[in-house]
């Protein structure tokens, strides 16, 4: 065979559906996001550490958490990145438009951090330690994405 072989590409789309129950505490957490636009953490009965997302048992002390504490909506940006090369969102199979900000936020009164998107009017103005606040979506479904993103506190 002297002629150049033609090359083919094989494409495939695999969709893996799955369901999971959010359980009692996470359901409370997401209902509060959806219905009240409030963020709740869960406080350890022994050491007083406030977990967000909530968990039933404190990691270091093995004690049950027993109290809901409203946290945020303001918090402090602990670290961040500006994403220019994105991966596929596994929920939609699409890429989020770049650039977008992504950071770890420690909400006021919480002892753990959550990861979320950052509003990105000017990437150069994002700083570690800056004050940010949650912005909720108009239509909410009881998901973490009910928080649209965190924006700098004016």
């Amino acid at each position: 065979m002297t002629q150049e072989p033609k090359l083919l590409e094989v494409s495939s789309q695999a969709n893996y559906p799955y369901n999971y129950s959010a359980g009692r505490l996470l359901s409370f957490f997401f209902r509060a996001l959806r219905d009240q636009q409030k963020i709740y953490g869960r406080k350890c009965s022994k050491c007083g550490k406030v977990y967000i997302p909530p968990r039933p048992v404190c990691g270091p002390c093995f004690a049950e958490t027993n109290e809901w504490v409203e946290v945020g909506p303001k918090g402090t940006l602990e670290c961040f990145t500006v994403v220019y090369f994105t991966f596929l969102d596994p929920m939609t199979g699409k890429k989020r438009p770049v650039p977008y900000g992504y950071g770890l936020i420690k909400l006021d009164r919480a002892d753990t951090r959550i990861q979320h998107f950052l509003s990105l009017n000017d990437p150069r103005k994002i700083r570690v330690g800056m004050r940010v606040e949650a912005v909720f979506n108009e239509e909410r479904e009881g998901k973490l994405s009910d928080i649209k993103w965190f924006r700098p506190v004016e």
């Binding site: 094989v10 959010a22 996470l26 359901s27």
Partner: protein, 162 residues
Amino acid sequence: MPWLKGEALKQQEEILVFKQVLQVPYLYSAGPVVSRFLLALRDEQKLLGIKCPKCRLVFVPPRSTCGKCFSDLSQWVELSGKGTLETFTVVNYPEPIQPAKTPFILGVIKLDGADTGLPHLIGEAEEKDLVMGMRLEPVFQEKRTGHILDIKYFRPVNKDRA
């Protein structure tokens, strides 16, 4: 806070269930050897094998290296497409990436002139019609795209049909 259980829990609290679909698109280059095989399916409705110059084994689908003696393979052979059913199974459990709706029959077909089994769908037959060793022939799709499913399925050779 005491834990609520059973009915009390159901009445008082809405428990959320997340329904999610992980989507995994992918694309791979078939390479020169498999591309030639797929192009023959698409353009000529022909099945090609590739023969080892040293141990004489014929591979379908083709590969660039002999799995037995590691020789480079480049000698193409044209096959009739007809073959023998080596084994089969009925697939009843649906999975998202399957090529057909359940229940369907998956078989391994040893094509005439080939030394390897080709896994493919079996059509125009029910489980009770199938026996190992029976003769099968390929049925091609009307619209072919250069994909292994350009063969719709293999069906039993029917003397009346011929």
